[in-house]
Amino acid sequence: MLSRDKTWVGNDNGEHSFHGGIKLPGHKDLSTQSPIADMPACDVYTVPLNQHIGAEGEILVKAGDHVLKGQMLARPHGMVSAAIHSPVSGEIIEISNHRFPHPSGLAAPCFVIKNDHKDEWIERNPVGDDYAQLGSHELRGLIRDAGIVGLGGAGFPAAVKQTEVGITTLIINGVECEPYISCDDMLMREHADEIIAGAKIIAQIIKAENCVIAIEDNKPQAIDAVSKAINDDDSGFIELQVVPTIYPSGGERQLIKIITGMEVPMNGLPADIHVLCHNVATSYAIYNAIYHAIPLISRIVTITGHGVQSPQNINTAIGTPIKDCIEFCGGYRDDARALIMGGPMMGLTLDTDELPVIKTSNCLLVTTPEDMALPASKSHMPCIRCGKCVDVCPANLLPQQLYWYSADRDYDRAINLNLFGCIECGCCDYVCPSDIPLVQYFRHAKSGIWEQERERKKSDIARQRHENRQARQDKQKQEREERLRKKREALAKGKDSHKLELDKKKALIADALARVKEKKAKQPVKPKNTENLTEEQLEKIAEADRRRKKLKKERGDQDAV
């Protein structure tokens, strides 16, 4: 807020607004000067197997296979998963690990496809307007098989969200609040009718009662195009709502608050308050899947920033090397410094352009020092508790205290202050006068907590395993001892001398017992507690008796003398 013309601190302006947020320089004009261009075909495409949130699909092809454009390469596996299709016709060169844009930076399985430039499509049977006759289940199946995921950036499989139970409101998100990005803006300008058609398909699936298309007020042309499309559509079912330009109004939770006045529970989903939110590009992809049987094999990507020669939006196949996209846009300028996939607030820096465009690549931003100075040093000023971060936090958290506890690794306190309510929007980071990389601290804390959780689970499992092993070992030991004992006994039996001695003893005992019994039978009164005695004891008793008798006898002899 110091540079007043650049930052604006929002406030809780009532029900249809969210707390905090910031006004950011848009830089959208940079990439909206020309219509969406079609990216020419490349020779080789690298299509990652897992470009979405959820499980990897099940691979249907193998290296050497010839594939057609739109052919399914992997089918969804499990509840939350997405299909992958070939963007071109050609040959699968290999299915191997390659790096692709992902926070981990790790290599993962990818289909590497050599384009045969014949552009041969797989056989398609579009549903078209007949979709109205289909049930929700079938439509969801079509969307699922088209590999459609949320194209706003999250990449959550679209069909999974489209439950038809209890959803009343469908929100189509055309807000696109991050600076520089304009792919949704351009899509709305050029394909408003298709977006509306897609929205109606989704609405039918989820049996929505109303549908709102939300657009930020800094996109007048998109607003015009969409409102015209809504007027042309005679259903009267779809509404347009223009929302103020405040970052992050395009965040799902924030947008739902603006439109409905309701808050998605912190640990819940929009469905919990009967809302489903889809991006305009997702709606467009669904339209293509239903009306043209085109799976998600291409998307519109904003190539922008002062580091590219001619910023613009391009329609490009998934799997296209980023390098080629930039080249198509005139290449880099000399002062290009950083390559960001996504926006400058929540995007991901890429260390190389030799990575493919994936389903969630909405923007490739090449920055120069003119655009932004990348946070250079690791050192920052101490927190002066100014509270600016508190004022801008759309999740209404206390970032300053979260920072304190995150830096201290006092995770319990951080969780108590709802660390997991943080949407990592970066507003706090942006305004912090001490330049503390707050979001980085929060991300570390979150992964630290997950790590602990995993460790705990692992150690639980390990302990269980250990105990099991212990029990197994004990049992084995017992068995072994048992076996040894038996063996020893068997050995002992084998030795005659032993056996004789043993037999003698046994005979003696048996003798004694017999005598005792005899005595007992003679004497009804029990003289001694001879019951429940062991054989040895009995033997001793018997011996003692014998001695006593002997003595008596001797004495008796003497007496008699």
Partner: protein
């Protein structure tokens, strides 16, 4: 092509601690000029002494603590502490008093607690209170404002008073005078009413139509500077607004009940260090509460305590104590005023 990696967000606001502190200094300028106008050279001496001692001890402490000296000196926080302290101390305070207060503020209240951002107590107010308790007589060495009882002493007299013992106690008594707030309290405790003081042949001259002569100007200009700071986003409006509203409510309530013994709300808001405290001292972010609701309570708390000390306490103005007491309460306030997180049904305490 290869690129550097970094962590989102990559965009940054242009604000930084240094520019915030500088703006605080700018905002203090009009009020300080008014102070100088009405109270003379002593104000400038105070500023000069406090600034040099604060900066020197800041540098010294940073060296001791093996911290980089230059960036910390540049952040301007020690400068702000020095200015606030200098403007709060009486203009004819001896140089060593200002120096001791400055030293305490920076060395003990700031650095021994861990430096900027870690000090629980407002350094300027700690310095102020230390000398207030240790040297109560010197702390009343205010000059009569311009145009009253001969006005402020000449440059040479001021130098003699501040830097030497070149002036006798009697002579000193002749040119110093307590502040209007102090005089009122003393007399009201002696069962005189406000009217008696205002028409008194010696003190009466000190009072203008609203408050003490000059003080409405000084406070008015601090108010203006403070409003500019709010507009610039440097300080949070909640603390000053709740401070001023609470002070008005409390003083108005009592003066309506008994106008003879309790001064009006206007008198209180435009007297002594009220506006300096409201916009510059209570808003020190490091030592204030950080939650929105916490800040409202924090401001109100300072007003209430300051009012109590002003009227019934043993010290001339209670703002310093009020600020320190609320500093102590700030962590607790933060804990119990946590805002309701988005999507949570109710705030946890």
């Amino acid at each position: 092509m290869l690129f550097k990696k970094a962590d989102a967000p990559y965009l940054k606001d242009y604000s930084n601690v240094q520019s915030m502190m500088l703006k605080v200094i700018y905002a203090l300028i009009p009020g300080s000029i008014a102070m100088f106008w009405f109270f003379g050279w002593g104000v400038l001496f105070n500023l000069a002494i406090a600034i040099s001692v604060c900066l020197a001890s800041e540098a010294m402490m940073l060296k001791f603590r093996r911290r980089p000296v230059e960036p910390a000196l540049k952040d301007g926080s020690a400068l702000v502490t020095a200015c606030l302290l200098a403007l709060a101390l009486p203009p004819l305070a001896p140089w060593w008093l200002v120096a001791i207060a400055s030293l305490f503020a920076i060395v003990v209240a700031k650095h021994l607690y861990g430096g900027l951002g870690f000090n629980p107590f407002n350094p300027a107010m700690v310095g102020y209170v230390v000398v207030l308790i240790s040297f109560p007589r010197e702390m009343t060495l205010w000059t009569p404002p311009l145009g009253v009882a001969g006005g402020w002493p000449s440059f040479t007299d001021a130098v003699a008073i501040v830097f030497g013992s070149g002036i006798s106690t009697q002579a000193l008594d002749a040119i110093t005078m307590a502040t209007p707030i102090d005089i009122l309290k003393t007399h009201i405790n002696m069962e005189h009413d406000i009217e008696y003081v205002r028409t008194h042949k010696v003190y009466g001259e000190l009072f203008g139509p609203v408050t003490g002569v000059g003080w409405e100007w000084i406070n008015g200009l601090y108010l203006a500077g403070g409003l500019w700071l709010i507009k610039q986003g440097v300080i949070d409006k909640r603390i000053p607004i709740s401070f001023i509203i609470s002070l008005v409510l409390i003083s108005n309530f009592l003066s309506v009940l008994d106008y003879a013994s309790y001064s009006s709300a206007l008198f209180h808001t435009l007297s002594g260090g009220t506006m300096l405290a409201a916009f510059f001292i209570a808003t020190d972010p490091v030592t204030a509460s950080t939650t929105p609701r916490g800040r409202i309570i924090y401001g109100a708390g300072i007003a209430a305590i300051a009012y109590i000390i002003r009227n019934w306490g043993g010290y001339p103005d209670g703002i310093a104590f009020a600020v320190l007491l609320m500093n102590m309460a700030a962590p607790l306030l933060d804990q119990y005023t946590q805002p309701r997180t988005f999507g949570k049904s109710e705030a946890k305490s």
